[in-house]
């Protein structure tokens, strides 16, 4: 009977979205917990983050399998196809996010063996808060299918970059001042880089959401400061 087929089809699509939302929730918690474990020097929490990453991988595989099955059996078109593809793309981004969070937690375990460095871990914490907030915003946008919120996240990526640059300078200063902090400083540097890349994944997700809802690729220029941006602009042709 036709209604039944469509109902099951709709259920499958909804289930896919729900799975992605759940995976997003887990990835979000992984990032927040990883940063927390570094800030509080919480070894147990860091270990939990490392262990939980396997679940994220399993969810990623599961979503991929379900999406492929859905494409094979239902041949989705138009918005249904975009929704399926977006679920797959989001799963990849979220899986990467989880890997980066795991890496942060692992480095946190090493840092916990040494002396505490409050000002530096506080900077990492601040950056981590910012990044997890963006991740949360973009996942909220996905759950509620709100383009504006996704675009807002996309537009504010330079905040994360600024934080990263500031942290980079701060860490360099520390390491130059006291060579004993180089090991810890390097780990913190990598953590900052990981956070910055999590931020990039959040912008990727925002782009995917835009594609899912509108069917068009997001082609805006990212607001990023560069020294030669002004010069690089093509000169208007003078009417001769």
């Amino acid at each position: 009977m036709p209604q039944h087929t469509v109902k099951a089809y709709g259920d499958e699509l909804n289930q896919l979205t729900a799975e992605v939302a759940r995976m997003g929730g887990l990835a979000e918690a992984q990032v927040a917990d990883a940063v927390d474990s570094v800030a509080r020097r919480d070894i147990a929490l860091a270990r939990a983050v490392v262990e939980r990453d396997a679940r994220l991988d399993a969810m990623h595989r599961d979503i991929e399998r379900k999406a492929i099955r859905l494409i094979a059996l239902r041949q989705p078109v138009a918005s249904d196809l975009r929704r399926t593809l977006a679920a797959m793309k989001l799963a990849v981004d979220l899986e990467r996010t989880g890997d980066l969070a795991k890496n942060i937690a692992k480095r946190g375990l090493i840092l916990a063996e040494g002396e505490p460095m409050p000002p530096l871990t506080r900077s990492i914490e601040r950056m981590g808060k910012l990044v997890s907030m963006r991740l949360r915003d973009v996942l909220d946008a996905y759950a509620a299918a709100e383009i504006d919120r996704a675009i807002a996240v996309w537009n504010t990526d330079d905040e994360v970059d600024e934080h990263y640059n500031a942290l980079f300078r701060e860490l360099l200063t520390y390491m130059m001042g006291d060579p004993r902090t180089i090991t810890a400083g390097t780990h913190l540097l990598f953590m900052a880089k990981n956070l910055e890349r999590i931020g990039d994944h959040a912008t990727n997700i925002a782009e995917t959401i835009y594609y899912e809802i509108t069917g068009q690729e997001f082609t805006g220029e990212r607001p990023r400061w560069s020294p030669d941006a002004a010069e690089a602009a093509p000169e208007p042709l003078s009417p001769v």
Binding site: Q15, A18, E28
Partner: protein, 471 residues
Amino acid sequence: MPYEVSPSPVAPRAGSRLWTAGASTGIAVIVLVGLAVYQPALAPYLLGAAGLIGLAAWILNRTPPAPAPSNDPAGLAPSQAALETETTLLESVFEALADPVLVVSGGEADDIAGRRIVLANAAARDLLRIQREGGLLVPVLRDPAVLEAVDEALFGGLTRTTDYAGMGAQTRHWRAVTQPLAQARSGPLALVVLRDETDVRRMELMRVDFLANASHELKTPLASLSGFIETLKGHARDDPKARDRFLDIMATQADRMSRLVSDLLSLSRIELNEHIPPAGRVDLARAAADVVDAVSVLSAERNVVVRLDDRETSAPVHGDRDEILQVVQNLVDNAIKYSPASGTVEIVIRPDIALDEAAAPWSGGNRGDGATRLPLVTPDREAGQRYAAVTVRDHGPGMAREHLPRLTERFYRVEGQKSGERQGTGLGLAIVKHIVNRHRGGLTVESAPGQGAAFTAYFPLAPRREAVTPS
């Protein structure tokens, strides 16, 4: 078809008269057919009998069933009404609960899309921006720990409390209590109650930060003191010139420490009194005049003119005289500290204004220089309450918008600003905030980089008497 096998709303109840009639007719038909096959000669009589039985069954079917109410208790109508009012009462109670409450249904254990929100009260709908019923749970509440707790409540029958952060622009901390509900026909149900724990968390965080900051602030002058003592004991012992200079610096540092400690003490005293409304009566205008006189030495030192317009106004407010003085004093101190040499600090008293006027920008709101205004403390609105306001305006470097909300935090300093030789303790505005709060008054700040800053504190006006108690 007259009889549907599936349970439909019109299907006869088991044991009803219709079932009996149908069953007996069926048996009669089978018997008749059996007889007809066994003895075909009887067929005409049997046909007649069948007709009779059919007629009887039809008549039975047509007659309305025996009046049901006769079996039921006599007082059904009122009890039903009572039940209804009780349901609507329960419903309205559920709706009115201040904490967000959700009822979640389970579906299959391994199907995450099966977790649906069966019911959500008004607070939950506001918070999660969802419909009253039928939404998927996962998109709105995707924290893994909470989802796990919901699963445990649904399929394991466990009650659990989970803390999580999330939802909304500002990070809020929530505590989710998940409980199993009685099994319904459609499957297991669970109750999720959310409670906002943000304030509790924030208080904890503030306490920790405060301890760290206070000890840090005390450590700096202490370190320099012990450093100089070491030097004086060592090679500077016989150098009178250096000794004098060092002693001067030490005196400054000791002074700074004692100011810090006294500020901390007064802050803790004010905090203790914060919920006790002040009893006295103070003239705000006269307090301002007193402060201007008191700071004349400091302002002359820094070559800053402190101007107080019309000293003749009287603005009696409810308040503790020392505390009101401290508010004005701290604001004027700050203004002088951040004023450039030979600058001016203006103090304006507005003796009788409404709350909206008090909270409005003192310059009328159309400065056009991009200055932002931010209320730091806002009193509860009370109808008809009038206020007296004191505004202290300086022409110093001003502050950017992002610093304004944090000004009243303890030890908060605007980056890149020096408060001159006389360093502040970083507690001045925190003290002002607490005093204003205790007096049920308000505090607003208006500033922009390069444009100076204007702080306005306002207090509830005391009813005018013929002779204002000299303050």
